[in-house]
Subunit: 365 residues, 2 copies
Amino acid sequence: MDERVHEHARTLVEWSARVEPGDDVVVEVGEGAHDLGVAVAAALGERDANMVTLYGSPEMERAHRLAHDGGFDADPEYELALYERADAALFLRGSRNATATADVPSERSQAYSRARQGIREARFGTDWVSTVHPTRAMAQAAGMSAEAYRDFVYDAVLRDWEALADEMARLKTVLDDGETVRLRKAGGPVETDLTMSIAGRTAVNSAASVAYDSHNLPSGEVFTAPYDTAGVVRFDVPLTLEGTRVRNVTLTFEGGEVVDWAAEQGEAALETVLTTDEGARRLGELGVGMNRSIDRFTDSILFDEKMGDTVHLAVGRAYDACLPEGEVGNESAVHVDLITDVSEDSSLTVDGEAVQRNGRFRWEE
Amino acid sequence: MDERVHEHARTLVEWSARVEPGDDVVVEVGEGAHDLGVAVAAALGERDANMVTLYGSPEMERAHRLAHDGGFDADPEYELALYERADAALFLRGSRNATATADVPSERSQAYSRARQGIREARFGTDWVSTVHPTRAMAQAAGMSAEAYRDFVYDAVLRDWEALADEMARLKTVLDDGETVRLRKAGGPVETDLTMSIAGRTAVNSAASVAYDSHNLPSGEVFTAPYDTAGVVRFDVPLTLEGTRVRNVTLTFEGGEVVDWAAEQGEAALETVLTTDEGARRLGELGVGMNRSIDRFTDSILFDEKMGDTVHLAVGRAYDACLPEGEVGNESAVHVDLITDVSEDSSLTVDGEAVQRNGRFRWEE
């Protein structure tokens, strides 16, 4: 086995999930993630942790959802009990076909998802971490060879996370202390000039560890929960929404809400998102990608939004970690990240002072 | 997908496990059993049952057990809670390497197993069924081509179970009403002549369904719990004990206990079993194989013991279903089945009347 698989597993178990002896750990192994599963099992054994292994199979899920009459039971107690009693949950994604569930009607998937709110909350109540084992199907989705894709994934995952966390802490301090953020980008067909309030909000230093309220490996972004958004923003990085390619989205905000939208491709899919509920037209997240080992778009949000020299905004739900204790942020059934490349003609300023210009941070000048 | 995979799945869900709408079902998918997993997911969906999918991976288990310090926690609560709340549990075996755990020291496996008694009991408290998806590794273990092995498995699994249950009911009646069984076989180097008491014991009509207290698919045997065994018996079907081939076992009983034993090959492995505890030297089971679709030995006890024209005896633990309510039968940490071919020179008599002679039952004469 590629030694990087073992390094990945140790990073996941030790740095990301902080597994301790005797911890009750759920490991969900994707159809194509067997090798990472074996390495994670060894890493959990080394920590003398307990292991329950789930099989994350989109093909089984598709077969079950399609054959079911659609009246899904709410939060089946046996599955709820498993997560409620678990200390950590590790999700090893790794699809063998990125479009394995393409023919499941979205109402069916949504009905299933709605019936499982309690299970989702129980899962998010554990020290959960989601990661990816590089498969041929994912390489294909990224338009890459299998070998180049493996290098890409391990470069992004096997970082000196402590050092990156220290660097990201600088941006977190700026955002924690700041009141107003302004994002500008010139040169495109639509000029971006957007202001947001972040006063009273706490930024998350997303350093790929539960110790930093960060649940993705790789990670490498700093994010907060903006409000009172005004202005225009264009997102020049494409994304895929429920199987539909969406390109060059433009959103216009007034008084914190999207009042106009457009997309050069996939506008109907964008409209579906924005009309889900009221919260879907407000921002839930402002994130700054700082993982420079991620140097290309691969059509996977786990990687794309952490790419260096990018900024992303999400419409929909805000993360609790960014909000004052007990305060409810933007609520919505959706959370969709939209990404803009800030490597050129761009600036991000906080309270009038530039913190990033053309992808370079103030402390890098 | 081979249509027989879907028939197998429907037989498992409908005939074997009797899954009802809303049932909470655990499905454990072996490393090589993905296709059966997909078909079972569809069959569970058709029944509007809930599904939690586990991954039964010997390679992950090996990695975890070997890396662990060996002081396994007793019955981790999260796993216990899952099984305690489940209605049914379906185990889809299907190895990709029948010797995947060959280098795990047996003390380590035993320590793990001992720590999980409560989980095992919770699992046996569900409507559980164990079955097998034919893999190349299993074909290899059976010395067969993949295609011939698939035919073999589906012939054994896709039976008219209702009809076989009716036939097996005849033998059950004989055994339920009987007091003394005598098994004889002439012609070998050691002559078999063994008597056992079965008075007061109840035979199980093992028709591959929880409705018959039967938890294997395929099944096709009638078994009871004998005692007061006396005489000599030779088992001419080979078996594998913890990776060791054992051939031509002879056991001599006096007053219900093994007082002498021999094997032409693997005697040390046999001795390890017989000296485990006191119960390991008494019989826990007398079984008569009645699945004539199983017409060859494949070195898998799931199939071998159900083969037509065979009788098997197990040293060790007896099944509760054979005992009067509240009575404890032979207790032991082991249950090892030993098989003898009764197609020739053989007879099985109950209270002096032949019920089977050279593999043919009384009602077939």
